[in-house]
């Protein structure tokens, strides 16, 4: 079983801490994650908004490259990329009329797409790793709001690893590392997704509702598995606060960062210093502030 | 071979069975093996098993004169085992009516006392047509219809209506065959082209969903008509259309007496 890794563009840039924390965790878990050779952008929202063939061809080229590299499955930690790759795989393999479509897309990418490589998301991948509990150094004893967002659990017919309403896989994962996942109402509500730049007014409103509920229920952190969600909930925090006319101090952690802390990995290796909203967690059992804080940047309330 | 003989001796001596139906040497050097009916432990040495032992001995299970002799142990090739299950599915054989001595090419003997054990044994066998059989069948399927018609017309022209195929077939156990009905006379008595065709069509249809492809009909045919082709063709149809194999289970419903609401019907207007 060879598992390949598709980072996607944002994990190389605005979400690099997601990548860093994943790699740090994978190292402790003893997993290798070779990148798909010469991968390209999946096209994200933009491609499927403007051209269907392009929206299928970009992910198809990625998957074909993974196949060619002998990968049986591809880990796609970014929920948005995961969605595009999963939808493409479904359209080209299982949907009605997929054969003709597969031929056409194979023509576009100038390579045969067969569909042998499976697409797995971060929660699926982590759930498949046994013995995580045994590696815990310092339980992540926090009340957390597991935020799945849209694209990890929907559409239900294509991504079938958890149920679309009230999903549980991230909650189970958090329990494994000693956290207390809360019952809250916005697990799968939309944060505004790709409108972060073009319509940040909408993002501010939708993301504000999410933070509001998480805070109201006593969460100490929001846990995410998607760079877009993180961008909206963390980097867009000043916009959110401005629109809501109140402050939210709750940090937003990637699922891999929370696990990394529990595994005793140093915050800096997990990229916690790159967050807009200060993360004051350390791997220690006590709740003292993290030893390394981000050197600077806009603190909550400063923007 | 000695294992087989010992097993037969043991079964007869302990009176577990009254008779062992097995293969014995035919008269003459090149003669094929013939069926022998061993009723005393002392006669067991005449039992043989080698590549010449092809006959489906299950055919004797349906003969009243054999049945009268009491419980039998049957030296059973894979085809014979499947025949036993098919006969059970058709209420002709009950559990513990017989004991099967499954034999394989290596001379390995496995006694199978119940239908359930036969089922388990058969489940492990490859019951698909062999590659050679498939290739041969495909050769005829690939012909154009007119060539196929001519082929069969020439083959059936030799048919003598001797009914040896029927006699050799363990699944042709009707006490009155349709060919013997004369009110009305379904099949013309004389051996002319029409009668021969109708006879063979009827037999093939009556074996659809039942035949286990033992091939004894073709072996029995004195004029060498490749009857097995018809049976293999229909068992492929039944498998492809209904996902059904005969002779796999003792309680199976027959493919031709059941249906699925979504059976194919693209040929129906």
């Amino acid at each position: 079983m060879k598992t390949g890794f598709y980072p996607g563009c944002s994990m190389k840039g605005s979400a690099r801490e997601y990548s860093e924390s994943l790699m740090a965790v994978a190292k402790v878990l003893g997993r290798e994650l070779p990148e798909i050779p010469d991968w390209n952008c999946c096209g994200a929202t933009a491609a499927h908004n403007l051209d269907r063939d392009l929206a299928l061809a970009l992910p198809a080229r990625i998957l074909a490259a993974a196949e060619k590299a002998g990968m049986d499955e591809v880990l796609v930690p970014c929920a948005a990329c995961y969605s595009r790759l999963s939808v493409t795989r479904h359209e080209l393999l299982d949907a009605k009329g997929s054969e003709a479509l597969r031929a056409r897309i194979s023509g576009l990418i100038e390579a045969e797409y067969r569909g042998s490589a499976k697409v797995v998301n971060i929660l699926e991948w982590l759930a498949g790793i046994g013995g995580l509990e045994g590696l815990i150094q310092a339980p992540f004893a926090r009340k957390v709001a597991c935020y799945y967002g849209c694209l990890l659990v929907r559409p239900a017919g294509i991504v079938k690893f958890d149920r679309p309403e009230e999903p549980q896989s991230m909650d189970r994962l958090m329990k494994k590392i000693g956290a207390e996942p809360l019952d809250w109402a916005f697990k799968t509500e939309c944060c505004g997704a790709g409108f972060s730049i073009s319509r940040n007014d909408l993002v501010a409103r939708l993301s504000g509702l999410i933070l509001d509920d998480a805070v109201a229920r006593g969460a100490e952190a929001v846990i995410v598995a998607c760079p877009m969600c993180h961008l909206n909930l963390d980097m867009r925090r000043p916009n959110i606060e401005k629109r809501a006319d109140k402050k939210f101090r709750i940090p937003v952690l990637y699922v891999t960062q929370a696990i990394g802390l529990a595994l005793g990995i140093a915050p800096k290796k997990l990229g916690l210093q790159r967050h807009k909203v200060t993360v004051r967690f350390s791997p220690a059992v006590d709740k003292s502030p993290a030893e390394t804080l981000p050197p600077s940047g806009t603190r909550p309330g400063e923007a | 071979m000695e294992t087989l003989r010992n097993k037969a001796r043991e079964l007869l001596a302990s009176k577990t069975v009254q008779m062992v139906i097995g293969y014995g040497r035919g008269s003459g050097e090149a003669a094929p093996a013939r069926a022998v009916f061993i009723r005393a432990a002392a006669e067991a040495e005449s039992l043989i098993f080698d590549a010449s032992c092809q006959q489906n001995l299950a055919v004797y299970l349906m003969k009243p004169e054999v049945r009268q002799l009491g419980k039998a142990a049957l030296v059973a090739t894979p085809s014979a085992l499947r025949t036993i299950l098919q006969l059970a599915a058709e209420n002709q054989v009950k559990d513990h009516d017989l004991l099967a001595l499954a034999v394989d090419a290596q001379g390995e003997v496995t006694p199978l006392a119940t239908l359930q054990t036969i089922e388990a044994h058969v489940a492990a066998l490859d019951c698909n047509l062999s590659a050679g059989e498939k290739t041969e069948l495909q050769k005829y399927v690939a012909l154009d219809p007119e060539q196929r018609r001519q082929f069969w017309q020439e083959e059936f022209a030799r048919c003598l209506k001797c009914y040896a195929c029927r006699g050799a077939c363990p699944l042709c156990y009707c006490s009155r065959c349709t060919v013997e009905c004369n009110q009305p006379q379904w099949i013309p008595v004389p051996a002319h082209d029409l009668g021969n065709l109708e006879w063979n069509v009827m037999r093939a249809m009556h074996l659809a969903g039942r035949c286990v492809n033992c091939g004894d009909c073709s072996r029995a045919c004195p004029v060498g008509i490749p009857l097995y082709l018809l049976n293999q063709r229909l068992l492929s149809e039944v498998l492809a259309n209904f996902n059904f194999r005969s002779g796999m289970a003792a309680k199976a419903d027959n493919a031709m007496s059941t249906f699925k609401p979504d059976d194919p019907e693209d040929f129906i207007r």
Partner: protein
């Protein structure tokens, strides 16, 4: 060949196709007179041997028709018939007998128009195929 008029026998069930053909009549729709109906209680009753008998006695074509699945007088006889036809067609085809000479169909009691179309289409098909003399010739001396 142009003046060839085929003989076609229709084996139909009493409850759907027979009634459908009655409706064709009630509506005065015209169709080829080359087709004559024999009534059966159900398609499940139709013995494949009868189809052979029809060909042997001079039929050039055959229609077999009954109730649509699930719309059926005798809850499942037509499903059984369908299975039988699948196998029978496979056999005829393997024997090199032109399966286009047997037309299977579902015609309900409400489908008077479908019956007329079916008859005409089948008659035309058989007309094109010509007399089934190859089969008729099989009938040797001393039959019946």
């Amino acid at each position: 060949m142009s003046d060839f008029e085929p003989k076609i026998v229709a084996f139909v069930c009493n409850w759907c196709t027979y009634a459908g053909a009655d409706l064709t009549g009630t509506n005065r729709m015209k169709y080829s007179p080359r087709v004559t109906i024999i009534r059966f209680p159900c398609t499940g009753r139709i013995d494949f041997m009868l189809l052979l008998k029809a060909f042997a006695n001079g039929a050039d074509g055959i229609i077999v028709s009954g109730c649509h699945p699930n719309d059926y007088h005798y809850s499942s006889g037509n499903f059984h018939a369908r299975r039988r036809w699948i196998v029978f067609r496979g056999l005829l085809d393997f024997l090199g007998i032109d399966v286009r000479r047997v037309q299977f169909s579902w015609v309900s009691a409400a489908e008077g128009a479908k019956w007329a179309q079916l008859v005409d289409a089948t008659a035309e098909q058989i007309r094109q195929l010509g007399p089934f003399s190859g089969y008729h010739k099989l009938r040797g001396a001393g039959v019946e």
